[in-house]
């Protein structure tokens, strides 16, 4: 490889990575790398939950169709809708409409906030009514509480962090600070939170639904 030849090339040498091998900005690429590593964490936890379930034939089904599954379906609707409003925020920012961007980000936060409130009420019901804790439960399968609270708790932490992140972005946009790429990067994080729920909802809730 000739370093002299590559320095002369206007596009930059392919062997040196070129000028922009992914045609994306560094913030977005950094967020992608974080999300990939985070997906491995969630995958490991989902596998741990699934394996614990397979090894325990007495695995409980604590979620009544009404209200638990209906509740979690509404939570799914909140997250999916907040993803759509986040896309609209990115779209508005790409068109330079800062006011609309702030409005769509606030709508996204309403969806995320509703999700957290519903999720916490679901947790409270499990803890106070069904007497499920991280270490014990009435069905004698302690791994259920441990894996359930770890998995959904980590996801809820991500949603709360996302809400804080979006608050900072919305404030910055309102003050004329951030650029379109910053909204897009925050959108990537928010969609990831939605994406993870698309696996937690069926595997944890729907597979443990109790009808009748």
């Amino acid at each position: 490889m000739s370093s002299h030849a590559s320095a002369v090339s206007p596009a930059g040498s392919v062997w040196e990575g070129g000028q922009s091998p992914y045609a994306t900005n560094s913030k977005k690429f950094g967020m992608w790398l974080f999300l990939i590593s985070d997906s491995l964490t969630f995958s490991a936890m989902l596998f741990a939950y699934t394996y614990s379930r397979v090894t325990n034939p007495d695995w409980p089904k604590p979620f009544d169709f009404s209200p638990a599954i209906i509740f979690s379906t509404i939570m799914t609707f909140c997250l999916l809708s907040s993803s759509l409003t986040m896309v609209l925020a990115v779209h508005s920012m790409n068109h330079g409409d800062r006011k609309a961007t702030v409005r769509w980000i606030l709508a996204t936060m309403v969806g995320g906030g509703a999700f957290v409130v519903l999720h916490l009420s679901e947790w409270m019901k499990l803890i106070n009514v069904e007497h499920v804790t991280a270490l014990n439960n009435p069905w004698g399968v302690p791994l259920f509480g441990g894996t359930f609270f770890a998995l959904t708790g980590l996801h809820m932490t991500h949603v709360i962090c996302g809400l804080i992140y979006l608050t900072i972005i919305a404030q910055g946009i309102a003050r004329g600070k951030f650029k379109a790429e910053d909204v897009e990067v925050s959108g990537l994080y928010w969609h990831f939170v939605d994406l993870v729920w698309m696996f937690i909802f069926p595997l944890v809730y729907l597979m443990s639904a109790r009808v009748g």
């Binding site: 000028q19 922009s20 091998p21 992914y22 045609a23 994306t24 900005n25 560094s26 913030k27 690429f29 992608w32 790398l33 990939i36 997906s39 491995l40 995958s43 490991a44 596998f47 699934t50 394996y51 397979v54 090894t55 325990n56 034939p57 169709f65 599954i69 379906t73 799914t76 609707f77 999916l80 809708s81 993803s83 759509l84 986040m86 896309v87 609209l88 779209h91 790409n94 650029k179 379109a180 790429e181 897009e184 959108g187 990537l188 969609h191 990831f192 939605d194 994406l195 698309m198 696996f199 909802f201 069926p202 595997l203 809730y205 729907l206 597979m207 639904a209 009808v211």
Partner: protein, 107 residues
């Protein structure tokens, strides 16, 4: 990478009607999942259907909402084959998980 290059790569991606269609498709698939849970179909069929639908939903979110469909192929090839390979590697313990209930002394 220069700051000029960074500013010039903001993606608009698909139009609003496409995003709305994707959202409706995601809601529709969620509805099918809930229906499967209500009908209490056999566990293996249910697990297969739910996982299949979840993977389709995840692909739609990544492709459209996260704009990966509109990025360079090199970004996808750098990130996803490794991720899928690592996730598939986690299946290595599935055999143990299935075997353990039959290995219990009084099972």
């Amino acid at each position: 990478m220069s700051s000029h290059a960074e500013e010039s790569v903001v993606h608009v991606g698909a139009n609003l009607s496409t995003f709305t269609k994707v959202w409706i498709a995601l809601l529709g698939m969620t509805g099918i999942e809930v229906l499967l849970a209500y009908e209490q179909v056999p566990t293996l069929i249910m697990l297969t259907c739910l996982l299949g639908l979840s993977i389709i939903k995840a692909a739609l979110i990544i492709a459209y909402f996260m704009h990966l469909k509109f990025e360079k192929l090199s970004l996808f090839l750098t990130l996803f084959p490794m991720l899928i390979f690592c996730i598939v590697l986690m299946l290595i313990f599935l055999g143990d998980a299935v075997r353990i209930p039959n290995m219990r002394p009084f099972a």
